[in-house]
Assembly symmetry: C3
Homo-oligomer: 346 residues x 3
């Protein structure tokens, strides 16, 4: 089950050019290309005649021509030419999807186009700030339901076992968590006081000695996460801390696009408040992040199999409170959306 009235990431902007490509989002096959004005166009990827994917056809000007019988569709999905003497059946059209490019990503709206509003795309305050460095981001395919990755991104505890050599330190094993429900998602966070920085961060943090560390894990509907890591000199952190100019902050943005119920395309990038222009640092971080996320992938793909074919009941623990709240609220939103859809059809 998916929330339809929402923006999902369809691709990195640099992946889309003037050639026809197929992407699959929420189980729907979509033909994507960049037209002569540089706009990204997204159309249902099936000619209404014999369902050949339009992505197997050709671009003609700003139109797409089917590779079987030449039916031609404009950027709004309307058929503008068909063989057989020029009559175009009224049903000869394909569904167009609203598209908006932002943060180097191609965002697609999967629901009612009439209510698509680009202002609803997640806000990333420091994206263009010269004081923040960025690694250029990446993506990977996960053979699991997107909610398993949402669970994972509301779960600071798992780092102690899954990311033993990178994000973990002793305190990540069992420091208590705080769960907060917000208007657009759920936050799970905790401060770990006077601890050693974890290996991944030790290389980057610019002060000596122990730190206070914040894990802020936030997932917003439908499936977008902000993971904020704060490392500040011991004594300056905590809920009432003052921080200072040495405080290190990394914001990891994570976008889960359901391909279908069993597959997810996972996109991400990170912003950091240190050495913003340091390309070597960006590269190293991108590399380390991908390695760490591959550790998540290995676990989640096994969990997908285990939960799908379980032969005895599973149990929930207190550390799951955040993800259970997120799932419950998302389910309610999906149910409401479907009820509205049914009413509008009736």
């Amino acid at each position: 089950m998916f929330l339809k009235n929402a923006w999902y990431v369809a691709a990195w902007s640099h992946e889309i050019d003037a050639s026809l490509k197929q992407v699959v989002v929420l189980g729907e096959k979509i033909c994507v290309f960049r037209n002569s004005q540089g706009e990204v166009i997204a159309l249902e990827d099936a000619c209404p005649h014999r369902k050949l994917p339009l992505s197997k056809g050709r671009i003609k000007g700003d139109n797409v021509e089917c590779g079987y019988h030449g039916l031609t569709f404009d950027c709004a999905g309307q058929c503008v030419w068909a063989p057989g003497g020029g009559r175009i059946p009224s049903a000869a059209k394909v569904r167009p999807y609203p598209i908006h490019e932002k943060y180097g990503l191609v965002w697609i709206w999967m629901g009612n186009a009439a209510i698509a509003d680009a202002d609803d795309i997640i806000d990333i305050p420091n994206f263009d700030s010269p004081d923040w460095g960025i690694n250029s981001g990446d993506a990977m395919e996960l053979a699991c339901n997107y909610l398993l990755m949402c669970d994972n991104l509301l779960d600071p505890t798992h780092v102690a076992w899954v990311h033993e050599g990178s994000f973990a330190q002793a305190a990540t094993k069992d420091t208590p968590l705080k769960v907060t429900r917000t208007d657009n998602g759920v936050i799970v966070h905790r401060w770990m006081m006077n601890v050693e920085p974890a290996p991944f961060y030790k290389k980057i943090v610019e002060f000596e000695g122990n730190c206070d560390r914040l894990q802020h894990y936030e997932v917003r509907y439908p499936a977008h996460a902000l993971i904020r890591a704060v490392f500040t000199p011991a004594g300056t952190g905590g809920p009432d801390g003052t921080l200072d100019e040495r405080t290190f902050v990394m914001d990891s943005y994570n976008f889960m696009t359901p391909v279908n119920e069993r597959e997810t395309r996972y996109y991400w990038f990170q912003l950091r408040n240190v050495r913003p222009q340091d390309a070597e640092l960006s590269k190293m971080m991108a590399h380390d992040v991908r390695n760490a996320f591959s550790e998540d992938k290995a676990v989640l793909e096994e969990v997908q199999v285990g939960m799908t074919h379980k032969t005895s009941p599973h149990i929930d623990l207190s550390i799951d409170a955040g993800q259970l709240r997120f799932r419950r609220q998302l389910e309610a939103m999906i149910a409401e959306e479907q009820m509205v859809d049914e009413k509008m059809r009736a």
Copy 2:
């Protein structure tokens, strides 16, 4: 759904020798071999005892011996030896299939053997004529239902997009089609007057200048096509044309054998009325035809997926009239055949 009381191509004659082979026709596994008299024998490919394919066994004289316990079957499918003291259970037999070799092809009758008549095999008038050249024919596996290839062979329009570099020319895009129902199938044809020959034919046609071109697309039940291409000097063609000695004719014979509902083995050869003894020309044409048919394969396999998993209705166009008639009539024939079968069982 398949028509059973019909001849299908099981193999090229040169593919069958004194070794045991398995072919699959209409979902039925069949053991095929050539006996000592040179006859092709076809038996249900499953020993009645433990269902080991007979094709995994051995030829003993003109009999087939199962590779598990030695049950031995004669060319009529009757068990002539079984272990256990020599008693042969009355149920120990396998179904034999009527076979007839013609045109270098092995034809198999899939229905009631009592009404198999080799005279019903498609008639190919010029097959042995010294005035006609032949390319030796070929076959390929298609991952699609056989009716999609039947559709394609009643569809002169598709050549403009699928065979842009070979069979197509401007006029193939939208010259109107004529549909005729015959006693044994459907013909779709059109004359294109005073046009340039398409690339594939330009190399072969023996006159200069423009031509009148006929596309004659005919499919006969169950699934056999004759595609006749005529290129004649402009002014000599058309429905009332006189043609002349420079007229080029190519008859392409196409035989679709359903392996099952999702797979087809596709056989073909061509006859031409020019340079009958020119082996180089035969070779070039065979090569070009295979390339063009690979273009069909690529499209049809995508159409198979698209039509099987479509998420919105498909539409028919006026150019589909011929294939819709063919499918409707074939369906009626299959329904009638099944009704007769049920009555005979009752």
Copy 3:
């Protein structure tokens, strides 16, 4: 359908060390490892929290730690640590399986642990005798139901066709069989009098000339076979024979472990009463046996497909009497076991 209250072979002892491995028996995924006392431990291979296989985790002392959130299980399957402040939910446990090592094999009990009794493991009288040589045994995966191999091991007839170059000789084709039902299985046997030794045995038997040959094929519940081959000088064998010091005996032990309904792991070793210390002979026999068993594998995997997808009824022959009795009795035992289980649940 499987008999649960029975010992199956889970692995060769030498396959299990201090690393975590997954085995699948009767469709159940099981995490297996050797603890610091050298005992083999077998636990349900799914953490009760999110069903990550425990075999993807880590050994900590004699406990197993889940690789996702560190839930830790002792050798009895009880959770002894969980994140979230140390409270351990009462449902946090995994099923432990009784294990016993014997004959170099790891035996696992798949049913009610309360009635597991290592004395029920098959008795192999000459296993440790200095007068008997052993080849070290082997295993292979079969893509078929375990009962097809049980059938095969109650079927002396098949050797004439499946093992033409090794175990077969003319008499194996059709000498009558005797079937005996025992308390724990079925025996099919026959004496072939005054025959030439079959190729596999000719190399080993230590007398010249013809022999009397016994094929003793015995399968015991759930799925363990003893195949005894006796070759004795002609005139010394038969039901009332006296045998003598030149008599050659080979006991082939075969253990079928159902992975699931369509896959089997097949284990075996042989004991012989000649040249017990001859390592070269052991090696040659192991090699020849593996080759012969590969012939069975090829046939049985085809039979699995043929019997699963048969399009006409199969027939039984008189040579199948033993295997039909074995199957009928095993089915009755399984049905009774399930009835008892249901009563205990009610």
